[in-house]
Amino acid sequence: MSYFKPINKHPNLEKNKLGLTRRDYEGGVSTLCAGCGHDSISACIIEACFRLNIEAYKVAKLSGIGCSSKAPAYFLNASHGFNSVHGRMPSIATGANCANEDLLYLGVSGDGDSASIGIGQFIHAIRRQVNMVYFVENNGTYGLTKGQFSATNDLESKNKYGEDNLFPPIDLTSMAIQMGASYVARSFSGDRDQLVPLIMGAIQHKGFALLDIISPCVTFNNHDSSTKSYDYIRNHNEAMGKTDFVPLGEEIKTNYDEGSSVEVKLHDGSRLSLEKTDHNFDPTDAGNSLELIRKKNKEGKIITGLLYVDNKCKPLTEIMDLPDKPLNTLEQEELCPGSEVLEEINKGLS
């Protein structure tokens, strides 16, 4: 087995504005099972960071426990990272976010980490509008413990050994919308054309961004009776219209007919341009989104694409009115208002 990837790269490989190639955003060689959807997601994160000219040292990768939570080792080698206790990644993210607003927080979690042991943490991170991208690499199974059902596994989906699933699934996207997440999308690890712009949008969005990405487990949940296999998802995927990410200052290249696209401006001025499909779907109307998800779930379809976005939300640090600068850069004068102020306060108390 090879643990290293040859260092030479294609001489004509594209470079971004920092003069870096895609390969400069790589991590170690994956030790996940060959063909794991998580690796495709890592590749899409690499692609998104490359295209957004992100400096890797300004990124923090956070994760809990599970196959998904191993993934941060396989991208952005030059970034910060914290591998936390099972299900506790949202707390770490919240704390880090408060302490340093300057970093980009990429939380990588799975269905077990987020929908089971960590569901309370998950909900409160959303509620508090932590400014982060929260990836749920959702494969409906506990791969690391040999393939038990997870809380996102569909009712009709059997396990590898033919056992029935007794409990209904949690839909993380509807839950997130209800809890106030400001950017919610679902995608499929095997559709990078859809996934990369969604990640780019999520990175540029200010507030809690949830990406629920169905990521087949090739070892335990890629069989004929699974609803999270490559084949099943390809056959039941109902993709919303195409989403294009348009960086600040660039022209929209794709032309949709008038009235057939919606444009969403993100905090930094970049835009998301969404192709509209048949219905009068408005991604900024939470009720509309929840209705659509419910309807499609009922039809047995997996709806993918940008499901909800609120570009006017206030992130955690603004709600709490925290300093703009990272805490560790605050000087003595900023931290301590001085004896005069103390005297003023004491006077007020007397």
Binding site: I7, N12, D39, G190
Partner: protein
């Protein structure tokens, strides 16, 4: 059309580059490079225009698009699934092997070196190129510029010097030599000239029971390998070992036997092979030539007389005229014979010199000045009529449309000298072949020889080596020899000469466990290693002291690790693919793309990294479940096997492609395979 467009130089001859999409390969064949047969650019240009016109008319139905990359036939249909059962497809991926005229399986012998199996590595070479020890020191190495490592990393693997390692470290290989039948097949073959071409023919025919007689004009066999390559580049014992190995296989060698009439020998044999080389050095007819004759020497003749120790000294000041490898050998020999002021003059700019880069470098390293843009005008004599110097005129190269013109500047220089060596080219000469015995010659007095069969217009007479189409190098002579031997065997067995044996090919999976390969994919990322040289001072004083010392074992093993194993092919089966993209993500050189099918032109543009190198093919799969196809650009693949390692379903596999060019030595094996 003017200029050098679509032309490239190979072995000093101008070729036209034609690129063809995969979909048309079966129809048009693989190698669409066509030779103009001309060394002179001016003469090559009209021939190129003619070739292009013919090409366009021939394929009028298709869109022909000419751009800077070559004449490109654009397919108008979607790309077809690549036919990997065609032996040439994967053969072409092994760049070194494909470029070698004898198609030696380079990656295989480099792996054998890495395993310290020097005997096996030597024998693999010997079967294919006959003279591993000689070629490992003197080959023109067409494999090295072709080496993939030159594209993916920095410099090619030192293939040629690794070949030498197989010679230097082997043990006794006699037990592995083919058995020579005691009962002969009754056919007698005459070989004229004991150079590499004839010796190859002899080696290929002896194991089949032929009685072979070799005629040599000198007193020792070896041809130009003995007479023209100085012993400081090729020690005599290496030459003798490999040449006499063939003689010992049972050839009758007649030395000091100059054949002055082909007619006289032709009837004594069932077939005759002419491998007499290009023995006539060109002369320089300028004023003073006749008067100074005593001190003007034709380079190749002069080297010959040194090889046979007739000449042992030269004047103190020597001018060598010419810019090819012979000029390099002449100047380096002159220094060793005691000359202390040796200069090389060449008419063209240094960058256009014909000498191989490494031979030029060695001469410069030995302190020999190369005066370029210097055209000889006159030999100057002193009062006693003895050569005292030469007059030259400085030239200036002007390039218009990529075409070079040398313009005299009028500036004259005089260089003093005692002797002059002329190394300005050589021709083949056949004064000994009667014009009326059925061998047709062309307008330049060269025999008309079939490119495939090596047969002349006289059915019994075959040509090869420099004698066929003018000066090339040893490895081409070997390749010609193999082909001629096949033809002679067919001819004597009354089989159609065009019914030629196919190459032996074998494609075997290298999978050993889930993620284990039976080859070492952990290649070295280090730079090319330099070959150690002898102390310069000592070397310059000794005509026979070998300058290059060759790799020692440690260096050889390190250099062997630089080989990318291009014969380890990535084989794809679309029916197993689940399109998880794992291979796309892991590929270090971004070779793999899943995309919708289109014409080759469009597919090449829309890959992860556009495939701009038209010399390299695209590997295209059949239609996948999503309607897309897998396209792999062979150009930058480093054969690391990671695609197959990360593939969950085994849709990718690594398979070793063993391609053995047909020659008589493996004839038995070919037949056995047909039976099986």
């Amino acid at each position: 059309m003017s200029g050098k467009k679509y032309l490239f130089k190979r072995n000093n001859v101008w070729w036209v580059k034609l690129a063809v999409p995969l979909s048309l390969r079966s129809e048009l064949g693989y190698d669409l490079r066509r030779t103009t047969g001309e060394k002179d650019l001016d003469k090559a240009i009209p021939i190129r225009d003619k070739i292009i016109e013919e090409f366009k008319t021939e394929f009028q139905i298709r869109k022909v698009n000419a751009d800077d990359k070559g004449i490109v036939l654009r397919g108008t249909e979607h790309m077809q699934k690549t036919d990997i059962s065609d032996p040439q497809y994967f053969h072409k991926v092994v760049d070194c092997q494909y470029a070698c005229p004898a198609h030696t399986n380079v990656p295989e012998y480099i792996r054998l070196i890495a395993q310290k199996k020097y005997d096996d590595a030597y024998m693999l070479n010997w079967e294919s190129n006959v003279f591993p020890g000689i070629l490992g020191r003197t080959c023109d190495r067409p494999c090295e510029p072709a080496c993939r490592r030159g594209r993916t990393h920095d410099k090619p693997v030192a293939i040629c010097r690794l070949k030498r390692v197989t010679y230097d470290y082997k043990n006794d290989i006699d037990p592995y030599l083919p058995e020579i039948p005691k009962v002969k097949n009754g056919k007698k073959i005459g070989l004229i000239g004991a150079g590499p071409a004839s010796l190859t023919v002899a080696r290929d025919l002896l194991p089949l029971g032929y009685e072979v007689t070799i005629f040599e004009k000198d007193n020792k066999p070896g041809g130009l390998m003995r007479t023209n390559i100085p012993s400081f580049r090729l020690p005599e014992e290496v030459l003798d070992e490999e040449v006499y190995r063939i003689i010992k296989m049972g050839a009758v060698l007649k030395t000091n036997s100059y054949i002055d009439s082909l007619e006289n020998v032709i009837d004594s044999f069932d077939a005759v092979f002419v491998g007499t080389g290009a023995p006539k050095g060109k002369d320089l007819e300028i004023p003073g030539r006749k008067e100074a004759n005593e001190n003007i020497h034709i380079g190749i003749d002069w080297l010959t007389s040194i090889a046979f120790e007739h000449t042992k000294s030269i004047g103190k000041k020597v001018i060598v005229i010419g810019g090819g490898n012979t000029a390099m050998d002449c100047c380096r020999t002159a220094i060793r014979l005691g000359a202390d002021d040796v200069k090389v003059t060449v008419r063209s700019p240094k960058s256009d010199m014909k000498a191989s880069d490494w031979e030029l470098e060695e001469a410069i390293d030995e302190g020999i000045p190369i005066l370029d843009n210097t055209s000889p005008k006159e030999f100057l004599l002193d009062d006693e009529g003895k050569l005292k110097g030469m007059k030259f005129e400085k030239m200036e190269a002007q390039y218009t449309d990529g075409k070079r013109k040398l313009i005299p500047t009028g500036e004259e220089i005089i260089i003093e000298c005692d002797d002059v060596l002329l190394a300005i080219g050589q021709d083949n000469a056949f004064p000994w072949i009667e014009k009326n015995i059925g061998i047709d010659f062309n307008e330049w007095d060269c025999p008309i020889v079939d490119k495939t069969t090596m047969q002349s217009s006289h059915p019994k007479v075959f040509f090869g080596g420099d004698a066929a189409w003018g000066p090339e190098n040893i490895i081409w002579a070997v390749a010609h020899g193999h082909q001629a031997a096949i033809s002679i065997d067919n001819f004597c067995s009354e089989v159609d000469l065009f019914n030629r044996p196919p190459p032996l090919t074998n494609l075997v999976s290298q999978k050993m466990g889930i993620h284990e390969w039976s080859y070492d994919n952990g290649i070295s990322q280090e730079a090319r290693l330099e070959v150690p040289h002898a102390d310069l001072k000592q070397a310059l004083n000794d005509l026979k002291m070998e300058v290059e010392l060759g790799f020692d074992e440690k260096l050889a093993l390190e250099e062997a690790q630089r080989c990318l194993n291009c014969d380890m092919q990535t084989v794809f089966q679309e029916k197993l693919c689940i399109e998880c993209d794992a291979c796309v993500d892991i590929c270090p050189t971004d070779c793999i793309t899943f995309t919708t099918n289109d014409t080759e032109e469009k597919v090449r543009e829309k890959l992860r990294v556009p495939a701009l190198n038209l010399d390299q093919d695209l590997y295209v799969s059949g239609k996948l479940a999503t309607g897309r196809v897998m396209v792999k650009d062979e150009d930058m693949c480093v054969h690391c096997g990671l695609c197959a390692e990360r593939c969950p379903t085994g849709a990718w596999d690594i398979q070793k492609n063993n391609y053995i060019e047909a020659h008589n030595l493996n004839k038995g094996r070919v037949k056995a395979k047909e039976v099986a």
